[in-house]
Each structure stands twice: as C-alpha cells, then as structure tokens.
C-alpha cells in the first residue's frame, strides 16, 4: 500500500492538436499519479508527448479530454485566472532555456515570484539569499543573467522555482543546454533538495544523466505511457 500523499493525478488525459484539419494526438488517455517527494523523469523520443503532459500538469495547457488533479483540486476545471493563482502557489517551473528576466539580477529573479505572492519583504530577501547560497551562487547574487554562465542561470532558475515553496517542480529538459559539469552540478542540487527538503521534481528529458538519477522513469511513446518504472532510491 502506497502511504505517500498524492500530489498529482491525471485521468485519461488526451490532447489533440488541429482536431478539425489534420489531427495530431499529442496525448492519448494518459492516467498517471505522482506522489510527494518523487524524483521522476518522463522520457521518450521527440513528439512522444512528455512536454505536453508536463504542460497539462502545470496548468499551462488544457486537455482535449480527461482531468488533472493537483492536491485533489481539478485544475482542468479552473478558469485562466484561477490557474494563474494556483500555479503561483503550487507549481515551480524550470525551463530548457532558463528564461530568467534579463533586466533583473539573480537575487531579483528569485525574489520576483515571492513578490508576486505578496510575501513580507524581509522573508523575500532572506529566502532569496538562502536559496542562492544553497545553489552555490553567493558570488553571483547581484549579477544579471547575461553575466552568468548557462549552468549558473539554470541554477538561478531552480532557485526561482523553489522560492515560492511549491508543491512540486516541473522541469522541461533542464539540462539540454548545459555542459556535462554544469548538468551534473544542477542534478546534484536538485537531488539534494529532493532528499533533504522533500521537494517533488518531475522532469521531461531525454538526457541519460537525468534518467540515471531518477527514482521513477515514465516512458512515453506516441502520446501514451509505455512503461512506468520505480527504482530503489
């Protein structure tokens, strides 16, 4: 019996692009559950639907059919405005291209999400500094993205994702644009956050380095789950 608390559940989620012209089935009846503290990789070839699934879970896209629940709340039934507020409180995002705000420093990038949550100024400052120190970026706090390497930018992006104390972090190909050392450093950081603070990570990736570190690997082919493998942590 699984005693862990459910964080995410998808029920028969399908996504069809261009349904009226040339339909493309990005997801086919995907039902999957993610529990608290997981470190999961969703893998598969390009076009297999892993990023689409991540977008559904993150409330960034709406399924053609099926439902997505986060903490028991059906986010697929929420309005756009409700989903924005929900994402802000519950979900952290890490993108392939880092996507930091270029005119903000590392500290400001991390603080911005907490600012949107209307956290007290002192808490924002302390947490941003603490996260950047944990990411090994104490020297780069006041640097802008253009003054940082790709690995450093991605670590700031992870710190930003963690800043809002989300229920889980969705990372779309987080190591795709990083060299091996930076990728391994990043994975170490995320693994430590997962192990020590229980942060739930869900990656979409085809990077074997990420797959090797995952404790659960979901393989997708043609928009459907082909296998779901749990490994010993």
């Amino acid at each position: 019996m699984n005693k862990k608390k459910e964080v995410i559940r998808t029920e028969s989620v399908s996504k069809v692009y261009n349904p009226d012209t040339i339909p493309v089935h990005a997801l086919r009846e995907v039902s999957v559950r993610f529990d608290e503290g997981e470190f999961t990789s969703i893998v598969g070839p390009s076009g297999s639907g892993k990023t689409t699934l991540l977008n559904m879970i993150g409330g960034l896209d709406e399924p053609s059919s099926g439902q997505v629940f986060v903490h028991g709340q059906e986010i697929t039934a929420m309005s756009d405005r409700e989903r924005v507020a929900f994402r802000l409180e519950h979900i952290g995002f890490v993108f392939q291209y880092f996507n930091l705000i270029p005119v903000f420093t590392a500290r400001e990038n991390v603080s911005f999400v907490m600012f949107l949550q209307h956290r007290p100024e002192r808490e924002i400052r302390e947490r941003a500094e603490q996260l950047l120190v944990e990411m090994g970026l104490e020297e780069k706090m006041d640097s802008r993205p253009a003054e940082m390497s790709g690995g450093e930018q991605q670590r700031v992006a992870v710190a930003r994702a963690l800043a809002s104390r989300p229920s889980f972090i969705l990372a779309d190909e987080p190591t795709a644009n990083l060299d091996t050392v930076s990728a391994m450093n990043l994975l170490d950081m995320m693994a430590r956050m997962n192990r020590e603070e229980g942060v739930t990570f869900i990656f979409s990736t085809h990077d074997q380095r990420v797959i090797d570190r995952a404790r659960r690997v979901i393989r997708m082919v043609d928009g459907a789950v082909e296998s779901d493998e749990f490994r010993e942590g």
Binding site: N55, G58, L60, D61, D80, R81, V84, A85, R87, L88, E89, F93, F95, Y97, N99, I101, P102, V103, F104, F112, V113, F115, L116, Q117, R160, S164
Partner: protein
Amino acid sequence: MKTYLILAWRNCWRNRRRTWITISAIAFAVLLSILMQSLNRGSHDLLVENMARYSTGYLQIRDVRFEDDPSPDNAFEYGDAIEKEVLAMHPDVRMVIPRIQTFMLAADDEGTKGALVMGVDPEREQVLNGLMDQLVEGRFFSWKDGGSGNDGGSVNDGSSGIEPSEAVVSAGLAERMELAPGDTLALIGQGRFGMSASGLFVVSGIVKLPVVEMDRQTVYLSLPQARYLLSAEEHVTSLLLLPRHKRDTDDIAQTVRTKLAGTELTVATWEELMPDLLEFIKFDMAGSYVLSIILYVVIGFGFFGTVLTLTLERRREFGVLLSVGLKRRLLSLIIFLETLMVSVTGVLIGWLLTTGVLLYFVQNPIQLTGDLAESIMDYGWEPILPVSLDPGMFLSQGLIVFFLAVGISLYPMAKIARLKIIEASRS
C-alpha cells in the same frame, strides 16, 4: 508597485539605442509641434493685443445702434458721473478710456485720403497702448485735462475754445500724404446729426502704429478738439474698459452687460468686435493643428513600430512570466508603464528643448524681411515672428503624447490578453 516600476524602467533600457531613437522622435515631435503653435499663437496674440489696444479695446461700451451705423450720430453722453458709475460696475475695471471716432477726408496740398479720425485722451491711451511711445517725429498735442475728458473747453483758448488745433498723424498716412510735423492738414466730413465738420490742423507729431491698417489712415485729435469738430460736445462713440487682467474680460463683460440691460448702451468684447479676426485666427490655427496631427501620426507609427518589435521579441518572456504566476493585467501594466516612461522621457526632453528655443526667441524675435515681410504687413501684422509661452501648449502636447502612448500600448495589451502561454514559451 515599486518592483513593477523598476522592471518597466530597466526594460526600457534593454536596447538603449532603440529607446533613445524613440525618445528623440517624441522629443522632436513635441519641439516642432509646440514651436509651430507658439509661433502661431505668438503672432495671433500680438495681433489681437495690438488690435485690441489700438483699435477696439478688450471691452467697449457703445450705443446699441453704433454697430450698424458707426457715425457720431450714435455717440452717447459721457461725463464724470458716468465714468464713476462704470468704474463701480466691476472691481476689475482698472480704467475707462473715452474715444470719439469717425471717418473723414484728410486733405493737403497734394490730394485727399480717407482717414480714421480719433479723439483721444493721450494719457489714458498711454496706459492702454503706450501711444505716446510710438511717436517717431515731433510731439504729442498738449492735454491739460486729466479728468474724464468731458470738459474740453477748459483745455484751450481761442475762438473755438480749443486752440491750438493740432493733430498727430500715423506714419503710414503721413507717408502717403507726404506730411511732416508743422504741415497743415484739413479734415472734412460730417459731424453729429448732419452738421458739417471741417477744420485745419497743424501736424504736431507722427506715430508709428503696429497695426498696419490703422497706420495707413489714422489721425489723432485731442478728445475736446474732436468733439468740437464733430459737434458732439460731451459725447463719445465708445468707452473702452481696461481690465486689471486680460483673463477678467469675459467676467467684466457679463457683469456690465447685465447692468446696462434696459439702456441704449451695450458692451462688447474684442471677440465680438472683431469676429473676422477671430475666424482668421481659428482658420490659421487649424492649419497648425493639421500639421501637428500629421507629425504625431508619423511619430506614432514609428513608436508603434518599436512597440510592435518589442512585443514580438519578448513573446517568450511574456509566456514565462505568465507561467510563473504573473497575472496578465500586471504584465499589461508593466508594458504600459514602459510605453509611458519612454513617452514621458521624450515629452520632458521635448519640453526642455522647446523652453530653451522659445526663451531664445523671446530675447531675439525673428525679424522678417523682403517680400515675406511685405505680405505679412499686408495682413496687418508686424513683420516679426513673436512666440507664445502659454503653458497650455506644453500641457496639450504632453496630453497628446500620453494618449498616443495609451493608444499604442493597447496593441501589446491585446496581445498579452490573447497570448497562449505554451506557444509563447516555445517562440
């Protein structure tokens, strides 16, 4: 709000060169637009000022029949008592200036010209328009009556009771009639109620009037002299009211009009007295407004192009910001602030530049020469390009740019409202 302001401000400077080009375009549009209006308004203000001061006054009391029949027949009685009564009508009436005027023939040895004969109190005219400062030759006729000008007989001695018979002639008329101080001028015309009016006057001085039309034809007599000539003792054809401030004109007109109701007198403002001039000014300003609109349309498209590029360039960033939880309306606010900041900076720089240029032109008015000056003078304008410093122009141009910025920022706002996060994040 501070964070949004910081974000917007820094975003403005992500591409410094582009931002400076946009700011420069706005500043240039503001500069040109205000300068154009300032020159127009300056010329109009000067024209109105001169016309009002030398011709109609800002406000004028006259007989109700005078407009249709501007002859001495429609003069009205004026004395100390009436002057006190008029002054008491409104506290902002600084002074009353009596005039009697009619058209007559002016003749000398060489020929005859039509002339506007004005009986005036030079000292009061001096307060209104600095008439005596316009003297270019000779001297002004003597004037010993410092009162209402009603007691003409006490001024001079002689058979008419008003001697010596002196006149001050405008420079244009003097030139046309080849008159100089010391020459004799005959005035022939009709006095009050069909009385024959004629007299010989020695030209005591020549004045250069800034209103060309008046400069071509005016003969000034002392008020008692003119009254005697026109058989209109104790009468004037108009009573000019000098307001303490020009802005009081309409208020005074309204009050005086109410108090004159039921009498044969009426009051008119310069706009009512010179409707053609008002129409001309409106027509002339319309041209400058059209040019301003064209200028702003051109600048607006340039500005819009910048915002369009900026919106397309930053689609992914917008998508990411929306992904992490920024509300669409707050993202729109940031974009609006960016547009506004660029506009405000452009307007402020435009204002500074314009102020500098206008202050220079105040000190050094542009003097027109040659054919252009001639044609300007034909319209009754002085051949200079005066400028106006009316703060209203600065405000209106600022508002135009503000609304331009609001209009332009609607595009990125509409884009943000319909932005699909997934597509934007992948772009």
